[in-house]
């Protein structure tokens, strides 16, 4: 064949392949562009206008000023602090408990599949249905949790209706009054002493969250444990290492990629919490369970303030992004690869 003919055929084939590829890619790309990529920018656009049910005039960064330092600042910072507290009391507990369970399950044993399945059930249960059950368990009048508290000699609690912090509650049992410190002024409705701890209501929601995620994380840890080559253990055993040393010197370090992964997705999940907040407490009592995800919903859907909601959503996005980057940076240094 002469050169030009070869080139032409090949070019046609390349063009055909390009067209075919675009045909393959376009459906997904179009949907993703319209409903996931472009809206991210639209949110920024919306946050720059006055938008109170109907679109108003351009306001530049005014909405951000309102949310960060203006008339809505208190509720924004309050919801941010609730979100962080919520993350703090769920993620470490989830990781520790699921790691221990995975470790126990890991050795070949009878019934491992049964346990694994059972632990996984909460994860596939919808947040709404599960919240209904937990609400019932924590009912102040007839709930099972209060029955248990009675058995151990602690009086009935108001659980999801209790805005006081757990440390404050524990302290008052023993007649100890905790010092009162809060970044919000004394007459602010958000004045909750940080030292009083997370509200019992938030702890109640956290209990549900931990229950929900344990099985999922056990499964991931099991897989991670499975990726650790046996040779390390055998070599260490030959050197006379104890069970405990095997765990701390080999298992934990080699498991760190998995731990890091679990921590990341668990944290991001907590930062976004909405369904369970809606179903269990609606942000109450006294806004002590109002995560930023719920606050955004409250502002844009319950109050019709699209502009402020968009501004808060953009801020939440920035936080999640920053946090993910931070975790990558910090953890990368810590993670030990085999």
């Amino acid at each position: 064949m002469t050169r030009p003919a070869v080139g032409a055929t090949r070019r046609r084939r390349i063009v055909q392949e390009n067209i075919l590829a675009y045909a393959f890619v376009l459906p997904a790309i179009v949907i993703i562009l319209i409903f996931q990529f472009l809206p991210g920018f639209a949110a920024v656009y919306m946050s720059l206008f006055r938008w109170d049910i109907v679109q108003g005039p351009f306001r530049g960064l005014d909405n951000y000023v309102t949310v960060l330092t203006g008339s809505r600042a208190e509720e924004f910072w309050q919801s941010l602090s609730v979100t962080f507290t919520y993350t703090l009391i769920t993620v470490p507990v989830e990781i520790v408990v699921s790691l221990i369970l995975a470790y126990l399950l890991f050795q070949k044993m009878r019934g491992r599949g049964v346990y694994r399945t059972l632990y996984y059930m909460p994860y596939i249960t919808s947040a709404i249905a599960a919240s209904v059950i937990f609400n019932w368990l924590m009912n102040p009048n007839y709930g099972f949790f209060n029955t248990v508290l009675e058995l151990v000699g602690i009086g009935p609690q108001r659980w999801l209706d209790e805005p006081r912090g757990i440390f404050e509650l524990i302290g008052s049992r023993f007649g100890v009054a905790l010092p009162d410190w809060s970044p919000f002024a004394a007459d602010s409705q958000f004045h909750q002493s940080i030292i009083a701890g997370p509200s019992l209501a938030l702890v109640g929601v956290a209990i549900y969250t931990i229950w929900h995620f344990i099985g999922f994380q056990v499964v991931i840890f099991l897989a991670g444990l499975g990726n650790i080559s046996n040779e390390y253990y055998e070599a260490a055993r030959l050197d006379g290492a104890s069970e405990r040393q095997l765990f701390t010197k080999i298992t934990l370090p080699l498991l760190s990629p998995t731990t890091f992964f679990v921590a990341t997705i668990a944290t991001i999940g907590s930062l976004k919490a909405f369904n369970q907040i809606y179903a269990m407490t609606n942000g109450g009592p006294l806004e002590t369970t109002k995560t930023l995800g719920y606050e955004i919903f409250h502002v844009f859907f319950q109050q019709g303030r699209i502009d402020l909601g968009a501004a808060m959503a953009v801020l939440l996005t920035v936080i999640i992004l920053l946090f993910t980057l931070f975790q990558f940076r910090v953890a990368e240094r810590r993670v030990h690869y085999g």
Partner: protein, 286 residues
């Protein structure tokens, strides 16, 4: 998995106290984790007065099967389930289709602008749903006028960056020899995908299917915002609504919760091996 057991020292009896202790701990945890389900069922069978007794009875004194019938009749559950069913099937089928095609193109085809498009996917992956919620809401209600339909609950979910990435990773691992052989046989991309790649990807496809279907079944926030009438409401919104209406009738509320949980639990028990293994495998690679 690379290893399945740590080496066990030889010469010791079968039932070590260690193992027994382990089972005790694991069982205790299992009881605690399973208890909410038990409590739901137990309350669902009780009469209203027995359910609201304090201290509560652990096991129902009488079994009131009619609670389930009553709860079922108190809200349009058949409609809610039908809606969820339709939506879940449409979303799962649609997302599978778009993700398979797109993943294949990124994995095994080369085309102009590939890098840019892939970068867009990556960037999209970083954008959390909170940022897109409000604009999407305004888009579908104001611009597209799709609110209060089944379509509005389906269309935005017809593609998923996560699925594309997952499948792409898997498609890339298909040996090149198979691709070359197919080319020699004169098979085009579509044929290769359909006849060779997909059959080899069944486990991953099952995972994507189950995860997508489950996500659809559990959908709450979006339908809450965009539906107004019972005719198109899905089951989770229906359950929340039932709770608003009958929240103080705890026995009925628990019966309703049973309806909502049962289908997923049953399917899960059926398909759990795929789901758990798949999640584990993909979880690590993710």
């Amino acid at each position: 998995m690379a290893s399945t057991a740590l080496a066990r020292p030889s010469g010791l009896p079968r039932f070590r106290t260690r193992t027994v202790l382990k089972h005790v701990v694991l069982s205790a945890v299992a009881v605690v984790i399973a208890f909410p389900f038990y409590w739901m069922l137990s309350t669902a069978f009780k009469s209203f007065f027995e359910a609201t007794q304090f201290p509560p009875t652990l096991f129902p004194v009488e079994f009131h099967l009619e609670n389930f019938a009553e709860a079922w009749g108190d809200a349009p559950f058949p409609t809610f389930f039908r809606n969820t069913f339709v939506i879940a099937i449409a979303v799962t089928a649609g997302e599978l289709a778009t993700s398979i095609l797109a993943a294949y193109a990124f994995a095994r085809m080369s085309f102009k602008g590939q890098g840019v498009l892939f970068f867009i996917l990556l960037a999209t992956y970083m954008i959390p749903s909170e940022a897109t919620l409000i604009p999407n809401f305004v888009l579908v209600t104001k611009v597209l006028r799709l609110s209060d339909t089944l379509q509005v609950q389906i269309i935005p979910f017809l593609a998923s960056v996560f699925s594309v990435f997952l499948l792409r990773q898997h498609f890339r691992s298909i040996p090149n020899e198979l691709a070359d052989a197919a080319k020699v046989d004169g098979a085009g991309h579509l044929r290769f995908l359909w006849k060779i790649v997909l059959p080899l990807s069944v486990p991953v496809l099952v995972v994507v299917t189950l995860v997508t279907a489950l996500g659809s079944y559990d959908a709450f926030q979006w339908p809450l915002l965009v539906t107004n009438s019972d005719a198109v409401r899905p089951i989770q919104v229906g359950m929340a609504q039932f709770r608003t209406e009958f929240g103080a009738q705890y026995h009925l509320e628990m019966a309703a919760a049973t309806f909502v949980i049962a289908p997923v639990v049953l399917i899960f028990l059926f398909a759990q091996r795929y789901l758990i293994q798949g999640v584990a495998r993909t979880g690590i690679r993710g």
